[in-house]
């Protein structure tokens, strides 16, 4: 009798203790035993998110490796890579030398696909518009405010443009899409270069912000008279119109796999960090870009196991090779052969404790 009562008390105490104090400790223990069923965590760009979610879904079916990719924006991908909270990051804007210098270790880039940033809009009848870089720049600077502005009319004879305000929709989060878009406008517009410049997050003079490519597409779709910029796939999936943009050679180019690939047909540097906006190619779409996955060259940090690192490298290798077959179905251009060759060299240069890693290719 006496015992049973004491037992209850002891139980109460031990439950208290166990539940409060021990739970973080036991949690830490659990992490290490789970290494064989590898789970990889990535975060970043929303621009290639439809592709990645398809690729990683297939990869899970093929190899049973769970790859959790959270589309939080390119800025987020870089940030989380710098604070080492993810296994790999995704970004549409390659990291600047300044950003790389901030990292605790060398960060590598491999391109995964090509994409196009398109100007989309919400107009009655969804007419196909032709736009030039300076019209786009002035619209996003708030200098062109009406859809029936003379300059837009002049570019689009025959299209009935309404007397409606242009509502600019931009990104609210730090975004590689914004970087590509502003990189292009900085190259082609002096006003833009002076007032705004290029960056992942900008000090926008007008407009509303949506979170991620999905957020911007969602807002444009909801708002009559809206104009925004998103990755091509988001307009295709949502049946939204996009503009033809005049390139350096003076041709109005429709964004497509073909025109984007043309823009990427250039010499790719060894670290693959290259901008392909405002391309010289005659039929190249001017707002094209690679998108990259980033990771550390030295993989032994945060007590990562070698198995987990191997799983990561195998995944990345697969993305560069077999995974590429999913690109075109989702309107992302395949990587040019030259880019894949560069990526192979980069992947093989990854080390664990300073030693080369033998991973399944």
């Amino acid at each position: 009798m006496k015992h049973s009562r004491r037992n209850i008390f002891v139980m109460f105490l031990s439950v208290l203790m166990a539940l409060t104090a021990v739970s973080p400790a036991s949690a830490a223990g659990q992490g290490e035993t789970k290494a064989k069923n590898a789970e990889l965590l990535g975060a970043g760009a929303t621009f290639p998110y439809p592709l990645y979610s398809k690729m990683f879904d297939e990869y899970n079916k093929l190899f049973g490796v769970k790859v959790n990719y959270q589309a939080i924006g390119s800025g987020g991908g870089i940030r989380q890579m710098l604070s080492k909270t993810v296994d790999f990051g995704g970004t549409d804007a390659f990291m600047s030398d300044k950003e790389l210098a901030k990292a605790d270790g060398t960060i590598l880039h491999i391109p995964t696909c090509l994409g196009a940033v398109v100007v989309t809009y919400n107009l009655e009848g969804s007419p196909k518009l032709k736009l030039t870089s300076d019209v786009i720049a002035d619209a996003f600077l708030g200098k062109i405010t009406k859809w029936n502005d003379e300059r837009i009319k002049a570019l689009n004879p025959g299209v009935k443009l309404p007397d409606q305000n242009i509502t600019i929709v931009h990104r609210s989060d730090g975004s590689g899409t914004t970087f590509i878009f502003s990189d292009y406008l900085t190259k082609v517009s002096k006003d833009w270069k002076k007032q705004i410049g290029r960056g992942k997050a900008l000090n926008w003079p007008v407009g509303v912000g949506g979170k991620g490519n999905p957020g911007v597409a969602g807002l444009v779709k909801q708002t009559s008279g809206a104009m925004g910029y998103v990755e091509l796939i988001y307009t295709l999936q949502n049946k939204m119109p996009y503009a033809l943009i005049k390139n350096k050679s003076g041709n109005f180019i429709e964004p497509s796999l073909e025109t984007v690939s043309q823009a990427a047909n250039i010499d790719i540097p060894a670290d693959t960090r290259v901008s392909i906006t405002d391309t010289d190619a005659e039929n190249g779409y001017p707002v094209s870009s690679f998108t990259w996955l980033i990771f550390y060259k030295e993989q032994n940090y945060n007590k990562k196991s070698l198995d987990q690192v191997k799983a990561l490298l195998s995944l990345l290798w697969w993305v560069e090779h077999n995974g590429q077959k999913y690109n075109e179905a989702l309107e992302y251009a395949r990587l040019p052969e030259a880019a894949v060759k560069r990526a192979e060299v980069i992947l093989k240069s990854v080390v664990y404790n300073g030693k080369k890693i033998d991973f399944k290719q």
Binding site: K2, L13, I78, R79, T167, N203, G207, V208, G209, K211
Partner: protein
């Protein structure tokens, strides 16, 4: 007042018989159990004390962590943080004015919109319909309204409130943003009605019955009694409710983030102050925290968090002080 919630009345009787049984069994056992009890009692008290201290430590830890993480920003931004109106991560310029203004505007508008409704609900419940199914429904409905998650308010607002706001904007010949300070304020108002109503509902019945009776016996109508006696008497309590609701409104994140439009530009004129998109302190953190690449950028966001913490702390303390004073009076 002595209403009590209890599930188990039998426990004392059980203990009693158990104790008697035990006592009659052996005196030795009593002596040894006494000793054990002393030890157990000490442990028990120690556990209680430690848990209490843990609560204090959590709060202290929160404050310290927020402060430590914002030190780089405080050093870099200085006092200008509170008066600069440009938030530009590209050039590393961080001024919190757009968010302070956005927070102030949305909370204030939400209060203005919600006060008539929450007052009406509380007066109806406290003075008009005290029994029956209508007040029961009204009470349950406001309780449920308080239970709807913020993210669902935001989702619903995206599909129902922004189109309405867009129509208003079009009719005023403004750019039809839809997502705007106004949309966020409307959803915030809906969200705080149950909260401020519940506080007012507690305060209004505290008006002494004899004063009310005196008013009625002088021939005053209910309307007059409410206007001249009840509202006047419970004014400080209602005010406290408003302050507490304000404290709630400024920290509200998800619904606001989804409806406010996430723009860091200061509005140029009065109309655009309400109809343009904006950002609040909470929404800018939600939007930018995971992606702040620079250390100063991240630290500046934590500084906004610290600011938010301090403001809601002050509002809460003021509100509760007024209420306590009122209840004692």
């Amino acid at each position: 007042m002595q209403e009590l919630i209890t599930s188990d009345n039998g426990s004392i009787a059980d203990m009693q018989t158990e104790n008697i049984k035990k006592r009659s069994n052996s005196f030795d056992a009593v002596a040894s159990s006494h000793k054990n009890n002393m030890g157990a009692e000490k442990t028990f008290n120690a556990v209680l004390l430690i848990m209490g201290i843990v609560v204090i430590l959590i709060l202290a830890g929160i404050l310290v962590s927020l402060f430590v993480e914002s030190i780089p920003a405080i050093k870099y931004n200085g006092f200008g943080f509170l008066i600069n109106n440009v938030w530009d991560p590209v050039t590393d310029r961080y001024g919190a004015v757009p968010f302070l203004l956005g927070t102030l505007l949305t909370s204030f508008l939400a209060l203005v919109i919600s006060i008539p409704f929450s007052l009406a609900v509380s007066i109806v419940l406290a003075e008009y319909l005290k029994e029956g199914w209508i007040p029961a429904i009204l009470k349950s409905a406001t309780d449920l309204l308080a239970g709807v998650p913020s993210v669902i308010y935001g989702f619903w607002g995206l599909f129902l409130i922004t189109p309405i706001v867009r129509k208003i904007e079009l009719s005023l010949n403004l750019p039809p943003y839809g997502v705007s300070i106004l949309a966020a304020s409307i959803i915030l108002a809906i969200m705080i009605i149950p909260y401020s109503a519940s506080i007012a509902r507690e305060v209004i019945p505290l008006v002494p019955v004899d004063i009310k009776e005196a008013s009625y016996s002088l021939g005053a109508t209910k309307y007059e009694t409410i206007k001249t006696i009840i509202l006047k008497y419970s004014m400080s309590g209602i005010l406290a409710g408003i302050v507490l609701s304000l404290g709630r409104a400024i920290g509200e994140t998800m619904a606001v983030t989804m409806l406010i439009g996430n723009s860091n530009i200061l509005p140029k004129n009065f109309l655009s102050l309400i109809f343009n998109p904006g950002n609040t302190m909470a929404s800018v953190i939600a939007n930018e925290f995971t992606e702040a690449t620079g250390n100063i950028y991240l630290s500046s966001l934590v500084e906004i968090g610290l600011l938010l913490f301090i403001v809601s702390f002050i509002l809460n303390v003021i509100g509760k002080r007024i209420i306590r004073k009122f209840v004692i009076e």
